[in-house]
Symmetry: C2
Subunit: 237 residues, 2 copies
């Protein structure tokens, strides 16, 4: 497999060289031992995949590390995965959040955002969100996602029930029915907190015409519930 | 939620007291601070759930720790989850295996066994299998599984294709078709190694009439693939 380099927001134009610095340059040079003439793939995280050759490789200094110049020989544009699956949940504690973002990336989920429920306990810190943005970019390289998983802002449960038109909103809950497959292009999955959704929240979901569905016979931890619901939604076409 | 105690193979008979020792007794007494008269649930890992009261609680000694006598007031027998889903895969490396067993337990998978493929790299050591048996028991308590996830012996890919009658064998592969839901009572999911299945293995799967199915649009790590395939299989009734 060709080594992948992620440069979110990079401009990918055939024959116009791209500068690669920092960790990506260090990893390509020192870990993968790539050098001038070798092939790499550059992902812009927004559907662009450029098959490149390394044109130049130089050491800027001890602190600055390495810098590469790579030239796209061919640029492909890949459409986003359908349906567009968005997951909103309380952030699982500790390292489970990072691992969940990695798994959701591999599953093909488009976006994850922290969900604020009445019984939510965990509010993610800014540095944690930065860390999982990096996780999402790393996961994209590993599983070859042309579109990186987006990390959204925290949103209140009641607001999350109101999605843009054409979106199917599904509340994952142990007492729900079996998930019904959909032809909707956008699916929003809401996973409640450890302490469960309140009666009031479930009523609000019904009033907003959200589907209340269960994705397994047992009580699942948040990260497992998010993965199960995503896998089922993306497989039910 | 009533505190759960797992005693694999315990005999659960109403009014016949059960002895609880070791970690389970220590955890109930010292962490959960339970004592005589408190309610606990004892799981035998084979469908039995006993609602008990603590009758006695004594310290055996510094090394031996605590011992409890609990009395079942009511014993329920719960049928196994259907369909009976069995997952066979190369063991993910390091701690990923432990985490995967935990997730598969929550999803309702009945059994996991290590799979030996032509390109397999990892053969799990005995102490690792012991560790994940404990993980499966712990997970049962957390998600309230009456039947603990079983850990099977290592089996060769070609042998795994031959399952007992009434079992649907599904090979999870990136180039497969969409999974077709089944009314089979038993489903066996085979997930190939990091280096992929060989052409010969895929041909053997076809010759054995196994279904070759994909469970997501991207390349997944082994643990994610096992979870996705299990979630979809258990949700497709």
């Amino acid at each position: 497999m060709t080594h992948r380099i992620a440069i979110p927001g990079a401009s990918l134009v055939e024959h116009e060289s791209i500068s690669v610095e920092g960790d990506e340059a260090h990893h390509a040079k020192r870990v993968m031992r790539l050098d001038v003439g070798d092939a790499v793939e550059v992902l812009d995280g927004a559907g662009g995949i450029a098959s490149c050759r390394i044109l130049k490789c130089e050491k800027l200094g001890k602190r600055e590390g390495w810098r590469m110049e790579v030239v796209p020989e061919r640029v492909r544009r890949v459409p986003p995965i359908t349906p567009h699956v968005e997951v909103l949940s309380e952030p699982p504690k500790g390292n489970d959040l990072v691992r969940m973002i990695d798994q959701l990336s591999q599953l093909g989920v488009a976006r994850w955002s922290p969900l604020a429920c009445a019984r939510s306990e965990v509010e993610p810190r800014a540095h944690k969100l930065d860390r999982i943005r990096r996780t999402a970019v790393e996961a994209s390289k590993q599983c070859g996602r042309a579109w990186a998983l987006e990390i959204g802002e925290r949103i209140a449960f009641e607001d999350a029930l109101r999605a843009e038109p054409g979106t199917r909103v599904v509340v994952c809950h142990q007492n729900g029915g079996a998930y019904r497959s959909t032809s909707a292009e956008r699916v929003r999955l809401l996973v409640g907190p450890v302490g469960d959704l309140t009666e009031q929240e479930l009523q609000a979901a019904q009033a907003a015409n959200a589907e209340i569905a269960t994705f397994g016979p047992l009580t699942m931890r948040i990260d497992t519930a998010c993965c199960a619901a995503s896998a089922v939604t993306l497989a039910s076409l």
